[in-house]
Amino acid sequence: MKNLFLSPERIVLRSYQRELIFRVVGLIVLVTGLVQLPALFFAFTTWRDYQALTDKKGQLVAAANELQTRLVALKDARQKLSQIQQWEPIIRGRLPCSAVLAAIEQTVPADAVLEKIGIESSRYQALPVAGGTYRVPELYTLSIQGSLKFGHADELEAFTNELKKRLPVGAQVLRSKLLEGTESLVPFLLVYSITPAGNYSALGVQRIADPDRL
């Protein structure tokens, strides 16, 4: 039957307004439209941040160039420092043997006499230097042979400990032993291992970097 009261346009319009599918489509369009607002806001803030960061990058690059220019003026000092740093492990690993001998002299008991003192380096590490390598020992062995007057054998322990205090930090007593001797003398053997750590203040050695007091 023909619909005589409603025009086809009206029917179509009514179907767009009332049917569920078209309402769902309308909802989708509305939601999509609404989502555009935060999207635009986020896009704007991102663009603004990006611009600010780009400006900052330019400033930082300019500052870096300026710093590089300033660094050129200090090139000589930088090279010298680099050379000192290359030498540093060589100097740090050197046990001042004269100071060790002086420490022995200062701590040896009055009732003791020394027969042999030996300082020997071992466990070398080859460090690179201009043109090759230079060996730096990682361990020193200090051995002392001597004798104590009869009746003063107990002074060995005090001597051992006193000398250990004077040696660089990390020095270890490997042997501290009384040996069989004559009636009047008691021989002893003392062996220390010393790891050169660069700090020899216990030996009374002045730091190389310190200004000369003279």
């Binding site: 991102t46 002299e105 004798s147």
Partner: protein
């Protein structure tokens, strides 16, 4: 009915496509901004580090120069070459008894030690000597070693062996000339 389904499907596809595209663009923009921010932070850290280094160098310049001069001077004094140009060629070969060698070991020879050069391991930038004497007392030997150690900060005593001669009795008040054996090693320039 077919038209309605197609219409709904098309609306969903267009909407999802549009939102997806927007999300991707926003994510790309945000990632780019984050990367730039990270780069800036790294550059800022590098700049701060460089500025600290420059300031440190500027403040420490006199000390660096003084220490460098002191270290170089020890080499100049002992080996006749300036470590201001540490890579420079030595003035003479090592094994011909030249002044190059003599300068490094002069303090020992002048003190009466007999000095003998020793073969240097391949690749090592050093000169090595064995030295010995039986004519120095302890109180003269220690200052000599200290003087040489102070004169050349790269001088190593690899071995120091001091022993009392067997003919000297313990607790003797007579002068005791120690039997001294040293292994001396010094850094050389290229």
């Amino acid at each position: 009915m077919k038209f309605k389904t197609l219409f709904l499907f098309a609306a969903i596809v267009v909407s999802a496509g549009l939102l997806g595209l927007e999300l991707k663009l926003l994510a790309d923009g945000w990632t780019a901004a984050q990367l730039l921010d990270q780069e800036n932070k790294q550059q800022e850290t590098a700049n701060n580090h460089l500025e600290g280094e420059i300031e440190g160098l500027r403040v420490s310049k006199p000390r660096i120069e003084a220490l460098y001069t002191r270290l170089s001077d020890t080499m100049i004094a002992s080996r006749g070459t300036s470590s201001l140009h540490i890579n420079s060629t030595p003035t003479a070969p090592l094994n011909d008894g030249s002044s190059f060698e003599a300068a490094g070991i002069a303090g020992f020879t002048q003190a009466g030690l007999i000095v003998q050069p020793v073969r240097v391991p391949n690749g090592e930038m050093s000169i090595i000597y064995e030295a010995g004497t039986g004519g120095l007392e302890f109180h003269r030997l220690v200052p000599l070693l200290a003087e040489q150690e102070n004169a050349d900060l790269f001088l190593y005593f690899d071995k120091v062996l001091l022993s009392r001669p067997p003919n000297i009795q313990p607790f003797s008040t007579e002068p005791t000339y120690l039997e001294t054996r040293l292994t001396i090693r010094m850094l050389t320039g290229k």
